[in-house]
């Protein structure tokens, strides 16, 4: 699958959804940037439409960019053997993204992980609890603003 093919495919989607979709990045890093409110429509479209058939959600993660958190969906089509990256952004004030669990059940644990470590709330998720950290844990460690407490390194210094 060459980059050009993906780009034309992405361009097609953009035409269809116009202002809600932008194409970001270049070359192998091209991705669709989607407004959170239209996210589910577009994901559903990518899954069901003939020319995309993204039946597999390979990877779901999020990145903290200080002003906003970007949720990244790496989609893959098993039949067409092509990969598409979809991104959505939510601002720090309103950390809410619709959950993709209804489209791909595999988002379940991954969304819980993002909720746990970055604090993004996925609306419509069936069971949004912390997954790796204990329930009473405070804060979200993967945020850039998170202050790590006592690490191994500090302990060493105090020993010497």
């Amino acid at each position: 699958m060459s980059n050009r093919d993906i780009n034309t495919l992405l361009a097609k989607i953009q035409e269809q959804y116009l202002e809600d979709v932008k194409i970001v990045g270049e070359k192998a890093q091209t991705a669709l940037l989607v407004e959170p409110q239209r996210l589910l429509d577009i994901l559903e479209f990518l899954k069901t439409s003939e020319s995309y058939q993204c039946n597999m959600l390979r990877n779901l993660t999020a990145v903290d960019y200080l002003e906003y958190i970007e949720v990244v969906y790496h989609l893959y089509s098993l039949s067409l053997r092509q990969a598409i990256t979809v991104k959505t952004r939510c601002s720090m004030e309103d950390l809410q993204v619709p959950s993709a669990t209804s489209i791909w059940p595999s988002a379940n644990f991954q969304e819980r992980e993002i909720y746990d470590l970055l604090g993004v709330k996925f609306t419509g998720h069936p069971d949004l609890r912390r997954i790796l950290l204990r329930d009473e844990f405070e804060g979200h460690p993967l945020r850039k603003t998170y202050q790590a407490g006592n690490t191994g390194e500090k302990e060493v210094k105090s020993l010497c």
């Binding site: 990045g25 192998a28 890093q29 039946n55 597999m56 959600l57 390979r58 990877n59 993660t61 990145v63 903290d64 990244v72 790496h74 098993l78 053997r81 990256t85 791909w104 059940p105 595999s106 379940n108 644990f109 991954q110 992980e113 470590l117 912390r130 997954i131 790796l132 950290l133 204990r134 460690p141 993967l142 998170y146 790590a148």
Partner: protein, 365 residues
């Protein structure tokens, strides 16, 4: 008025067959499982956070500690992802060495799978046999990189050291012995009627459901979905080798077991091919000591023994990754546990856990 109710059984985090520190909260109706909810995080070390304070090269030893029975694969995935960012071509010999090591590691990992499945089903001799053969592979790794589990062997632009002179004869000896070993396991375990009836038609996952729930690796292929990244998106030099991707039909525990047994054979085949094709030459491309990949992001995935191991790295142009996410196959495969176990018995939960082959070091990250 008599009334029956379900009861909750905490299987784990200290339990002989949850492969580490997984806790499965079982809701039982007698022996029948109503719900099996996996509860993880007992081994969470915050490796993704650690990555943000380490340089790119310094993170390689940490990847060893994700899926600690197939560390070569972890090294390979991470190094290839970073190589993709900085655009380095790896010398031929190093590529072959990488293939040999990762495939040997796949065999070692599947031997552990076989052993742990055997002991989970009560046949401890199978486990001892599996670990015994794995020892041969670990000795080979020990010879090459001086470690038995946490190799840190594969580096950006190549591998850390060329193979010593005694390696190739030892590897050849192993490759000649291996079919006989495999045959022994088949006679001890595969032919056993009890094992067959324990695994056959338990924990069936349909192909459609397997894709939806995000299964990858042997667990997905057992359901009949042909998705092996080595074949569909060959990374490294996998397109030069001739090997089969074994597929299952039903997607039950038996298929997941048989497929892994078959994969071991294929991996041994790949190693033999790579050994005969391997050229002489350098083993390391020139890579800057202080690595500063250009700002951007990359997602790259490889086929690890447990499934699709993906690395998503965001770089801001600095010496440390801005964000590093690992798509851990064990973690995502574990989602299927609950729905597969429902309606089965306690003994089946153990069999399903063993055939999903989740490793807690990787699940908890």
């Amino acid at each position: 008025m008599l009334k029956t109710e379900t009861f909750t059984l905490n299987m784990g985090p200290q339990h002989p067959s949850t492969h580490g520190v997984l806790q499965v909260v079982l809701e039982l109706d007698g022996e029948t499982v109503v719900q099996a909810i996996p509860n993880m995080g007992y081994l969470h070390r915050g490796i993704e956070k650690l990555a943000e304070s380490r340089t790119y090269a310094q993170f390689i030893p940490y990847t060893d500690r994700l899926d600690y029975v197939s560390s070569m694969g972890n090294n390979l995935g991470y190094c290839q992802t970073v190589e993709k960012m900085i655009g380095v071509t790896v010398p031929e010999r190093a590529e072959y060495l990488r293939i040999i090591m990762t495939e040997l590691n796949r065999i070692a990992s599947h031997l552990i799978f076989m052993g742990s499945l055997a002991i989970d089903l009560g046949a401890s001799t199978g486990m001892m046999f599996g670990f015994r053969s794995r020892e041969r592979i670990l000795d080979l790794f020990d010879m090459v990189c001086g470690a038995r589990q946490t190799y840190t062997y594969i580096r950006f632009g190549g591998v850390s050291a060329d193979i010593p002179a005694e390696f190739i004869p030892a590897l050849e000896r192993f490759l000649t012995d291996f079919p006989a070993m495999l045959d022994e396991y088949h006679r001890l375990l595969t032919g056993n009627e009890i094992l067959y009836h324990r695994l056959k038609n338990t924990g069936v996952i349909s192909a459609q459901r397997a894709v939806e729930i995000g299964l990858t690796g042997p667990a997905l292929r057992a359901s009949g979905v042909d998705y092996d990244i080595r074949k569909v998106e060959p990374y490294g030099i996998y397109d030069r080798f001739d090997f089969n991707v074994p597929l299952g039909q039903v997607g039950d525990c038996w298929d997941r077991y048989i497929i892994r047994m078959e994969e071991m054979k294929q991996s041994a085949d790949i190693v033999a091919q790579a050994l005969s094709q391997m050229p002489e030459g350098t083993i390391m491309a020139s890579v800057p000591k202080v690595l500063k990949p250009p700002a951007g992001e990359v997602y790259h995935s490889i086929e690890n023994p447990r499934g699709e191991l993906g690395y998503y790295i965001v770089s801001d142009g600095g010496v440390n990754p801005y964000r590093l996410h690992v798509r851990r196959p064990s973690f995502i495969n574990l989602q299927v546990l609950n729905e597969t176990c429902q309606g089965l018995l306690i003994g089946d939960v153990v069999a399903i856990l063993a055939t999903l082959d989740s490793l807690m070091g990787e699940v908890d990250c």
